[in-house]
Symmetry: C2
Subunit: 449 residues, 2 copies
């Protein structure tokens, strides 16, 4: 084996020579060039071959022994151990190719680039990063107290949510909080979801041994996102909210209200939170800032009823905080300075404008081929086609034409498209509308240029 050429001590002057020898042999062992049970050269031979002193060679061999790469057998020398796994590792199956992002995405409620003032947020985060002493310690397990206080005030004022800083738990994303909530709710066993497609919520409850029930009436816990009851983004009207609260109070069900996106559902102003309507007795409220500010900000929160807040306190030391402390500090000041309320006003205004522009663009493209109207909620444009088309097939063909959208057939077979305006630039609406028209009228999907 030609080994000398690979050992080039002069290339690395920072590492002690004996460690260079160590690394050299280690790489030969780990790569399988020196298989298990191979005898290493004697110390004298090693020193001569590599042009080093015997002491240096001995230092390297001792370290190789200490780290389990070689064994010293008295009177016979040094041998490579059989611990390392030298066979080539089977390659993982290649990850499934992600489908290319659609050119125009009317299906996801992604955030609009114009909606967020990055410079402003950066300023708050920079200011948080200057708090050296605070960042040197672990944060409160429940979340930073000042953020919880600012949140409690904000929620009481803007969302009718009945809460105190003590009943709020901060976490990095809804799932982190559901893990804690499942531990708090350990005496319950069954849960039902208003939206059965909320797989990430189901997964956490199942992981914690809960049984998923199909019907609200059969479960001890009912999980509802009043502003996203289904894939069309239907919002629960106030009378349905009140009826639901009466049902769960009568049955003793615990309600989990995931207030995801509620702020953005109404052109005018959001519907009242179930938690507030209930007086905070039977409802756990969950909110998140990922959609309100930036998807990359992972801060969400739970508001617990008093009985559960007391139970949370008992187990709190067992659960670490997951949210970034710097981002918590920044967000606290951001809320205190009124920017959260301002951000919501700004986004609502932006989306209102965009939804109207989209409505106009689609109406102009489809003409008499569809009945186009703006839904009251969700900044969604609803396009009821006058020709019968299969919704699944239409979604797929639209996707091929670069447009991601949701379509649905009603009982009579009529097909309706639901277009969320937030994820597409307004300047792209005309082109997107032309593509959709071509797909729906079974024309060539390339738009005329």
């Amino acid at each position: 084996m030609e080994t000398k050429a690979e050992f080039s001590p002069l290339l690395d002057t920072d590492t002690p020579l004996y460690m260079q020898v160590y690394n050299y042999y280690k790489s030969l062992i780990v790569s399988g060039k020196l298989p298990p049970k191979t005898k290493l050269p004697s110390l004298r031979h090693c020193a001569e071959t590599l042009g080093i002193s015997r002491t240096t060679a001995e230092g390297a061999y001792l370290q190789l022994c200490a780290d389990g790469y070689i064994l010293s057998k008295p009177k016979s020398g040094y041998f490579v151990t059989d611990l390392y796994f030298h066979a080539p590792r089977p390659a993982l199956a290649p990850q499934a190719e992600k489908p290319a992002a659609p050119l125009y995405d009317f299906a996801s409620l992604s955030v609009d680039r114009e909606s967020f003032d990055f410079n402003l947020w950066r300023r708050y985060l920079k200011s948080a990063l200057r708090q050296d002493e605070r960042l040197l310690s672990y944060g409160e397990v429940q979340g930073e107290r000042d953020l919880r206080e600012a949140l409690a005030q904000y929620l009481a004022e803007k969302r009718n949510v009945v809460c105190r800083a003590d009943s709020i738990v901060i976490g990095a994303g809804v799932q982190s909080l559901l893990h804690i909530l499942c531990a708090v709710l350990h005496d319950k066993k069954t849960v039902a979801f208003c939206d059965p497609a909320f797989l990430q919520g189901r997964a956490v409850f199942q992981d914690h041994g809960f049984t998923i029930r199909e019907r609200e009436a059969d479960a001890q816990i009912f999980y509802v996102s009043p502003s996203h009851m289904d894939r069309r983004g239907d919002v629960m009207p106030t009378d349905a909210r009140i009826a639901l609260l009466k049902r769960i109070a009568a049955r003793g069900t615990l309600l989990i209200e995931d207030d995801y996106d509620n702020e953005f559902c109404y052109f005018d102003r959001p519907a009242p939170a179930l938690q507030g309507l209930d007086g905070g007795r039977h409802v756990v409220y969950i909110g998140t800032f990922s959609r309100l500010l930036l998807p990359s900000i992972r801060i969400s929160f739970l508001v617990l009823p008093d009985s559960l807040a007391a139970r949370y306190r008992e187990i709190a030391p067992l659960y670490n905080q997951t949210a970034s402390k710097a981002e918590q500090i920044a967000l606290c000041q951001f809320i205190r300075d009124g920017h959260l309320a301002g951000q919501i006003r700004k986004v609502r205004k932006l989306y209102t404008q965009k939804a109207r522009l989209l409505e106009t663009a689609v109406r102009e493209a489809f003409g008499k081929a569809a009945d186009v109207r703006l839904r009251e909620t969700g900044f969604v444009v609803q396009v009821r086609l006058r020709m019968p088309l299969a919704a699944d097939d239409l979604e797929q063909r639209a996707r091929k034409a670069g447009v991601s959208l949701r379509a649905e057939n009603d009982a009579n077979g009529a097909c309706t498209l639901f277009l969320a305006c937030s994820g597409v630039r307004a300047s792209d609406f005309p082109d997107a509308a032309a593509r959709m028209r071509a797909v729906c009228l079974l024309q060539d999907t390339e738009t005329p240029t």
Copy 2:
């Protein structure tokens, strides 16, 4: 009821008048001043009392109806609903007062202020925050690919860990990752912990329905932190590591190696990771940056064996990423630029110096009353007292004297203190040593001034 005085429309010119009327009644209802079933003034009376138009009053009442605060009963008027809970809420029991932080903390391995270059980290985070487009989207569920690639390379070079970017999962803290790991390991049922005091790990496994076994041999999973086998911070020597790997391979046990703090355990260089010694076949490796960089940075990672990585891929879409995307982007560049390796070198050097200074300070204070020596690992000074003392009692009295420390009695009743140097400033060592001496020699705990 004197209500007019409270309604001051001129104070708030941004809110439409009808919403001011709405807010005014809402506050009366929510505060209980207008109890359930109370009849509201007629529209005409309301308009007259508040000095507004009838249309404005009607707008406010309609919104109150829509939001569930009042009900309209045909031909009889508007009534407060009975949904709101007006009784004063029982106050939560006050949170237990946290014990005051000790003046000198030799018990926790908290991070040294001098150990971290804040300005450097701030620069990386600021640079990450400039990547507007990237921050506008949700990140990869497994963690940012470029960070996983940088980590894989770092771990292979510095920790002998056998891994690829594909087998790494990023998360906000060890618990977030254990939740995912428990879902991946769903076919196993039992787990044992090398350190039974690791309550936060036990909690997650118990939440997922695992049974905790006392003995390694009785469990399908064995959780070990080789650099923190117990409260004294004992480190597992290399021969014990090899023996453990042979045992688990023979039994088919899965090992979880929580490599917490390993980089800081040795004056010279850390012991090889079990994962690498095993060739990554039966070991799940967990690492974290909270202690290496800043406690407030919540980035940890799992390295999965191939079989588990394949299983993770199947369920990955069910589990959101919890770590801050901005911090992931910053950390990736920080590692690529070699600062992680530099940081470890810097901290190790700092702690080596401090441990020696602490050894000297304690030796001078105790004189012949104790046998003081530096442990080989963990930057811990070990103080073996020559007088018999009960460790528990000693810990409590030290705490009263402002010093937090760990003490242990051996089988012969001899008492040994274990002092970690990282959390106390070197300039405080003489005062802290004097206080400890006073506690051990049962003198007045106030140091002479």
